[in-house]
């Protein structure tokens, strides 16, 4: 196995001090390991956000297995069906016919017709030149009362354009067609969990007298489709930005990308942009900032010099979060990230100057198979994110994915409070991080 050098496993290639790290890709790609942290959502979880919808996956057995059991674990098998692709289908010209006939048969067997059907094809269909438009056309003609959405499970193409996650978040809104807008309505697009009502974003919308619409809050299909009529689109997750751009182009509505941030100036700029779009003057955020600073101080008092480790699943701005915490005296020692996004560059430079010895650690590198559960003993650790919890072996961790619905100054204060809670309470890490799709129901 790994050779021990100076009493430590040789982690060359899998970790690097930030002072020596290249941006945005600090590690060479190679074989990949999959750490057992299952909180981040996949395309099945995301697709289930459309109320009264049904999913049909057409793909090979190996690919089907993961999506079917995702639905099973979240107790939604009643909304999941499948069509398997076998070797002959790839070569005998029957791909499209099998999918059309299979989907039609599934619909006829459902106890109740879904309002929308998400039809997923996979990498092999795209490689084989499958005519998705033809299939959808046939199905729409057969079932005019069902809205069909083309969806994709194509991880092989993840570096050729949008990733499957980005595509899924975009296709969630593919049914929205140009229509007259409801005045003073704003959509929060592409999130998989509600944003805290106490966030400045939500408060600002309320203050302006606008209605905030969010797929995570939709209770039925009508509420979901009502989102098509909103005046303004907001996204704040990088994986959702393409959704907002697509809606802006298709519906002719304004899209504001107000990235989740841990930088006070950027947060204030975001809120100013939002206030401007809502047609109100930007409030004074001094008190909100002071609250955030007070929460960070409180957390620092409790956490003390305990090493803090952060991973990329906790928040897309994990480098920015590390920089914020380092600036406020936290002993941030490690960030788990395989690659960074361009919008993190300023935070990366700041963090490099603040904490040059901080380690960037890959999560998928082959050596990481032997680096989990705290085998590299480094005492007590406060982790932010499930992968950081797994690798560090700590029982003290903030259990969030994708920012956890915390946004703005309020989000920073809440996150600081969550750090206090994590520092003072133990969790059963092995059990907690293996639940799939944090926030979803689970049969486990």
């Amino acid at each position: 196995m790994l050779k021990r050098l100076n009493g430590q496993d040789d982690m060359t290639g899998a970790e690097i001090p930030i002072r020596d790290a290249a941006f945005p890709a600090p590690f060479v790609s190679g074989l990949e390991y999959n750490a057992p942290a299952r909180g981040p959502w996949n395309i099945v979880h995301t697709g289930m956000l459309i109320p009264e919808s049904h999913q049909v996956f057409a793909c090979a057995q190996g690919c089907l297995r993961g999506v079917i059991l995702t639905a099973a674990e979240m107790l939604e098998m009643g909304r999941m069906s499948w069509i398997s692709v076998d070797r002959n289908d790839l070569f005998d010209g029957s791909l499209e016919r099998n999918i059309v006939d299979g989907t039609a048969e599934i619909i006829r067997k459902l106890p109740k017709k879904p309002r929308a059907l998400l039809l997923f094809i996979s990498c092999v269909h795209l490689f084989a030149g499958c005519d998705f438009e033809f299939m959808l056309g046939e199905l729409r003609a057969m079932f005019p009362d069902i809205d069909f959405i083309d969806c994709y499970m194509n991880p092989t193409m993840r570096k050729s354009g949008l990733t499957p996650d980005q595509l899924m978040r975009r296709q969630l809104y593919a049914l929205f067609a140009p229509c007259p807008a409801d005045p003073k309505t704003v959509n929060l697009i592409g999130n998989d969990r509600p944003t805290d009502g106490t966030s400045e974003l939500a408060q600002l919308v309320k203050l302006a007298g606008w209605e905030l619409r969010d797929i995570t809050l939709c209770r039925n299909y009508e509420e979901y489709m009502r989102m098509a009529k909103s005046t303004l689109e907001i996204t704040y997750l990088p994986t959702a930005k393409a959704s907002g751009d697509a809606l802006e182009k298709r519906l002719g509505r304004k899209h504001l990308y107000l990235p989740l941030s841990y930088d006070f100036d950027e947060i204030e700029r975001n809120l100013a942009s939002l206030a401007d779009a809502l047609g109100i003057a930007a409030p004074d955020w001094s008190e909100a900032k002071r609250n955030a600073l007070r929460a960070l101080d409180r957390a620092k008092e409790i956490v003390g010099d305990t090493p803090v480790e952060i991973d990329y699943t906790a928040t897309p701005r994990h480098i920015g979060l590390a920089a914020l915490l380092a600036e406020h005296g936290f002993h941030v020692t490690r960030v788990y990230t395989d690659a960074m996004i361009e919008e993190e560059r300023p935070a990366f430079e700041r963090l490099r100057a603040l904490a040059p010895d901080l380690l960037l650690t890959a999560t998928v590198h082959a050596k990481m198979r032997f680096a989990g559960k705290g085998v590299h003993e480094r005492g007590d650790v406060l982790a932010i994110g499930q992968k950081a919890a797994y690798f560090s072996g700590t029982k003290h961790f903030v259990n969030i994915v994708s920012g956890g619905g915390m946004y703005g100054f309020d989000g920073i204060a809440r996150l600081a409070d969550r750090m206090v809670e994590a520092a003072t309470h133990e969790q059963d890490t092995e059990t907690v991080i293996q639940y799939k799709g944090l926030g979803c129901r689970s049969c486990l």
């Binding site: 057995q61 599934i106 092999v124 082959a366």
Partner: protein
């Protein structure tokens, strides 16, 4: 239509079978795939993933590498990781896109073996078959390479268990129970392929007097050992109260006579009488059917949704290829013993007994897993 299901699950795929079978043997397994295979396997198909380290990886295949046939990246990445991690062997296998691209895994394996000096096997998975085919090919490749010497047999009867993986036996203690039962039956264990035994244990497989095949994924390896060393095999799992004695006798007979036996299929499920139906892997389900019949007198029929040689099924057993066939068979049955994910297609008036099968429902019902080895059956039938 075939290949379509409204609500039931699907069995673990061949790539998972490879990984599961080789998990504990100190080798490195690389699935040539973008990302999903490893995540699915490690989440749903591998209960050992958190607590027991094993070198199971994906190649992180990209569209560009697939289209351009950049096999060199795979070869270089595997070689690099192997130099870091020093596995005992390397197995590489593929998902659907490499199948479409015509990736030549045996040739790639030969190249990796030449560069690393580590035995490397190229397997023929595609993500389009069940775990049984992958597990079967993987075990056969390893045994074929490492079990070459004909070792002396001891006077005391010895046996290998072949075909055990958590996909069929979960982590309910069933494999430990099979070992204990084997000892009780007078056989010393040489190796259990491939749970709880090392590659070095498996290297000594030729010293066994007889092989016990507990899943159809072990049959090809058992045949290999028979052809290479003359070791007979017996197919069956010692479930229930009375069948274990039948199986023990079959093992002793085989060890003495050198003839193979299939006690799991020594049944007759023909005729129109209503029967309890048992869908699942052929050797386990056949053994359970036999056990139910012996222990309760209630007639059974195996429903086989997976790949299985004809000889593993009894007359009257039925192959089922899709959800509709399962539903129809359930409707005509006196009862069903099956994984809970079959329950939605079982008519409400047909008694349904839950028997979780990890290869079908993953970890969903792991807490309900039953150990049926050498003990009374838990159902009143």
């Amino acid at each position: 239509m075939k290949q379509t299901a409204r609500i039931i699950s699907i069995h673990a795929a061949d790539t998972s079978g490879v990984c599961s079978m080789l998990y504990e043997l100190g080798g490195m397994v690389v699935v040539h795939d973008a990302s999903g295979c490893n995540s699915t396997y490690s989440t749903h198909d591998e209960p050992r993933w958190y607590r027991q380290d094993s070198m199971i990886y994906i190649s992180a295949l990209t569209e560009a590498d697939a289209v351009l046939g950049n096999d060199e990246k795979l070869i270089a990445d595997v070689t690099s990781a192997a130099r870091d991690l020093s596995p005992r062997f390397i197995a590489i296998c593929g998902a659907p896109v490499p199948l479409l691209a015509g990736t030549d895994f045996p040739a790639i394996a030969a190249e990796i073996e030449a560069r690393t000096g580590i035995p490397c096997f190229g397997l023929h998975t595609s993500g389009m078959h069940s775990y049984l085919t992958g597990a079967s090919e993987a075990l056969e490749a390893v045994v074929s390479h490492f079990c070459t010497d004909s070792l002396l047999r001891t006077e005391k009867p010895t046996a290998n268990i072949i075909g055990a993986t958590p996909l069929d036996f979960s982590i309910s203690g069933a494999t430990d129970s099979i070992r204990a039962w084997l000892a009780k039956a007078g056989f010393e264990l040489v190796s259990c392929m491939a749970v709880g035994s090392s590659l070095d244990d498996i290297r000594r497989a030729s010293s066994a007097h007889v092989n016990l095949v507990v899943s159809s994924c072990g049959l090809a390896t058992a045949e290999l050992l028979r052809q290479r060393f003359g070791t007979p095999w017996v197919a069956g799992v010692p479930v229930g109260e009375r069948f274990p004695a039948v199986l023990a006798e079959a093992l002793s007979d085989a060890a003495e006579s050198g003839k193979c036996a299939l006690p799991c299929a020594e049944r007759d499920a023909t005729g129109s009488a209503k029967r309890i139906v048992i869908p699942g892997e052929s050797i386990f389900s056949g053994s359970l059917a036999r056990a139910v019949e012996l222990d309760t007198g209630v007639p059974c029929r195996v429903l086989c949704p997976l790949e299985a040689e004809d000889r593993l099924l009894a007359p009257g057993d039925q192959r089922i290829f899709d959800e509709d066939a399962a539903a129809a068979a359930f409707a005509g049955a006196s009862g069903v013993i099956a994984d809970p994910m079959y329950a939605p297609v079982c008519p409400p008036d047909v008694p349904f007994r839950r028997l979780p099968h990890e290869a079908f429902s993953g970890r969903c019902y792991r807490k309900e897993s039953l150990n049926l080895i050498d003990r009374p059956l838990p159902w009143r039938l």
